[in-house]
């Protein structure tokens, strides 16, 4: 009985905790990281094939010691406003727990003051959209404490586009067209068969 009570109390507390946990708010973060991203091949990147190089470092114009809490950084691929229009599942929210701007992870690295870069091949399941790159810095409790992005505050500059994998093959295309044609030809065949059957029953 006592064990049951204990269990109930524990689960009640746990549920309180989970329901009241509130993520860090984006507007509380300082933009202390400078991020730049570059890629070859002009503007449109092919998912699964093309690479993008990201470089990031601490912005020294901030007072020294601000970055003492930073332990890890995570790089993320984020949707530009144009790709968020009319798509509620990509909406930007201030509460970072609910925010859906940056749904694709690029990499995770321990924090280092400068000389960070990474060359990343755009993953195959990245959908067709316009993106920018954002870097979040985390403290030891794995909470966001700072960020940086390769675009401006309105997310209008330095954007790049990704073209998704289509999965189409020539063989599929041909098969589709052939079967479709077969269906239509069958229909014509049915009609003429029907006419012939009706005529023969009339002659009987």
């Amino acid at each position: 009985m006592a064990a049951l009570e204990g269990f109930l109390v524990a689960s009640f507390l746990l549920s309180c905790l989970t329901s009241t946990s509130y993520g860090v708010s984006f507007s509380s973060l300082q933009k202390t990281i400078v991020v730049s991203a570059s890629h070859q091949q002009g503007k449109v990147l092919k998912a699964g094939e093309d690479k993008i190089t990201v470089a990031w470092s601490y912005n020294n114009s901030f007072p020294a010691g601000t970055d003492s809490a930073y332990k890890t950084v995570k790089l993320k691929l984020c949707y530009a406003p144009i790709s968020q229009q009319d798509r509620a599942w990509r909406k930007t929210e201030d509460n970072l727990e609910k925010d859906k701007t940056c749904l694709h992870n690029i990499a995770s690295r321990p924090y280092s003051h400068s000389n960070n870069n990474i060359s990343w091949t755009v993953e195959r399941d990245v959908p067709t959209a316009t993106y920018f790159i954002r870097v979040y810095a985390y403290n030891s409790a794995d909470e966001e404490v700072a960020y940086g992005q390769n675009t401006d505050a309105h997310k209008t500059t330095n954007l790049f586009q990704v073209e998704a994998v289509s999965g189409r093959h020539a063989s599929l295309d041909i098969a589709s067209v052939c079967f479709s044609a077969f269906s239509v030809v069958s229909l014509i065949g049915f009609f003429s068969l029907e006419k012939r059957k009706a005529k023969s029953s009339q002659q009987k």
Binding site: R87, V184, A198
Partner: protein, 480 residues
């Protein structure tokens, strides 16, 4: 000879039932609901479909397809009509495998949607093959198992996709290949319908047309008699609030459980699927109930049963929006689904009797009414953030109850309505069905099928068959 009582239905009906089932199954494989593999990739369709103009186009297309199908059934017979529609829309399904943009995706979904008009031909066909005493059951089973196919597809397609993916295709190609399965089923079903099917117990329309046993009817006459029959319009409205509601719930219920009760997406999907799976027994149950009521109380029994069941569905819908806990909500949803789907079965227990000459178009109007009801309901209650989903559900329940009241206005002079008995002038079934033919047509003898039917429909008088007046123009009964 029509398949008469329930015994005959189950013994001789088996061959008919077999292809009735394949009909039903195939026609709902056509509701292709792709499990979003990468929900991002496939959510364009929602983006596009959100635009008002596309919604209107989709609904008009659906209504037009059903009415056109009904007309085709009246003129050419359900066998050719279904086979033709199925084969013509099969290319749309094959081409889903090669869609690669929002626009192309929308187009294939739009054209695939036309194939759902085979619902009308299925109901027409069942109404032609089975007698009045079992027509509710036949329509209910065909319609219910067909709708069931839609729910089953949601469970089967992800498995098919998974299988193909495991065999070796990448995710991006596997879903494309997966679409060939329903597409092939569709082509094969069309073949089955054409070679195994038969329009009427006496034979196929084309043979009967040529041999003179059945006369090719005129489109303008059929159309006129369909649109001037007010009962068809009433049933279209009420069907919008049973089947339309079913379609609406199919669209919103998974999201509702996900958002309100915080179940995970997979669980929400299973709950939503169980709503559709109830069709296995609930819609046939409605049809069977309709026939049982007709045996005792005739057409008046069918009307009362429809009103009671659909109103109860509305009440449970109101409850569904009010209930706050997950377990009770799922229970109420299941009860609600049973009543709403039974109401659909009950509706098609009445539709075969509204008109004989224009049975196809009346069936098509009713079917189209279902789609209009679905879109109307979604636009009024579930668009934007005017109402929360639970308020929307409750209000939808209220609307169901209000729109079901019009059943009280249906009156058959030969059988009565909900509140009035048959006309004191002694109108008979023959009078009612013969009113669709003018004397010139009767002279040519092309009204004989309606005569046969009106004989058969005497069972709708219920238990008081003995005291009914005999036909006035003395045409001998022509049971084959």
């Amino acid at each position: 000879m029509r398949l008469g009582n329930m015994e005959e239905f189950w013994t001789f009906g088996t061959p008919f039932l077999k292809y009735e089932r394949s009909l039903a199954r195939h026609f709902k494989l056509l509701i292709l609901n792709i499990k979003p593999l990468n929900s991002d990739y496939f959510q364009w369709q929602l983006l596009i479909c959100g635009h008002f103009i596309f919604r209107i186009a989709a609904v008009s297309g659906a209504v037009f397809a059903r009415v056109a199908m009904g007309t085709a059934c009246d003129l050419f017979g359900p066998r050719l009509a279904s086979a033709a529609l199925t084969l013509i829309t099969a290319p749309a399904v094959y081409c889903t495998a090669i869609a690669n943009s929002a626009a192309s995706f929308l187009l294939v979904r739009f054209f695939t949607g036309f194939s759902l008009a085979t619902f009308v031909s299925t109901q027409f066909w069942m109404s032609s093959l089975f007698s009045s005493k079992v027509v509710g059951t036949a329509n209910g089973i065909a319609g219910g198992w067909g709708n069931l196919g839609g729910g089953a597809t949601q469970l089967i397609m992800p498995l098919v996709f998974g299988l193909i993916h495991n065999i070796g295709a990448t995710k991006f190609t596997a879903w494309r290949i997966a679409f060939f399965i329903p597409a092939l089923f569709q082509t094969l079903s069309a073949y089955a319908i054409f070679f195994l099917g038969q329009d009427l117990p006496d034979g196929n329309y084309s043979q009967l047309h040529k041999s003179g046993d059945k006369h090719k009817d005129s489109f303008s006459q059929i159309f006129y008699h369909a649109i001037t029959n007010y009962r068809g319009w009433i049933l279209a409205l009420t069907y919008g609030y049973c089947f339309g509601v079913e379609l609406t719930i199919d669209n919103i219920i998974a999201q509702y459980f996900y958002d309100r009760f915080n179940v995970n997406l997979h669980t929400a999907g299973i709950i939503a699927a169980s709503f559709g799976l109830a069709n296995l027994f609930s819609r046939p149950g409605g049809g069977i109930l309709s026939d049982i009521m007709a045996k005792r109380f005739g057409m008046r029994g069918r009307l009362w049963a429809l009103w009671i069941v659909q109103t109860l569905g509305g009440i449970f819908c109101i409850l569904l929006g009010k209930v706050g806990s997950l377990g009770v909500s799922v229970a109420v949803m299941i009860i609600f689904s049973i009543f709403v789907q039974a109401a659909c079965g009950l509706t098609f227990g009445i539709v075969p009797f509204v008109s004989r000459r224009s049975l196809g178009i009346i069936s098509g109007m009713t079917g189209g009414g279902g789609n209009v009801g679905a879109v109307l309901t979604q636009v009024i209650f579930f668009r934007g953030s005017r109402y929360s989903t639970e308020t929307g559900i409750t209000l939808m329940g209220v609307m169901i109850i209000c729109c079901t009241l019009v059943i009280m206005l249906i009156y058959f002079p030969q059988w009565g309505g909900m509140f009035f008995g048959p006309s004191s002038e002694g109108t008979t079934e023959e009078d009612y069905y013969m009113s669709e033919w003018n004397s010139a047509e009767k002279e040519r003898g092309i009204h004989m099928a309606s005569m046969k039917f009106s004989e058969n429909s005497r069972s709708e008088r219920g238990k008081r068959v003995g005291s009914a007046p005999s036909p006035t123009d003395g045409t001998p009964s022509t049971y084959v």
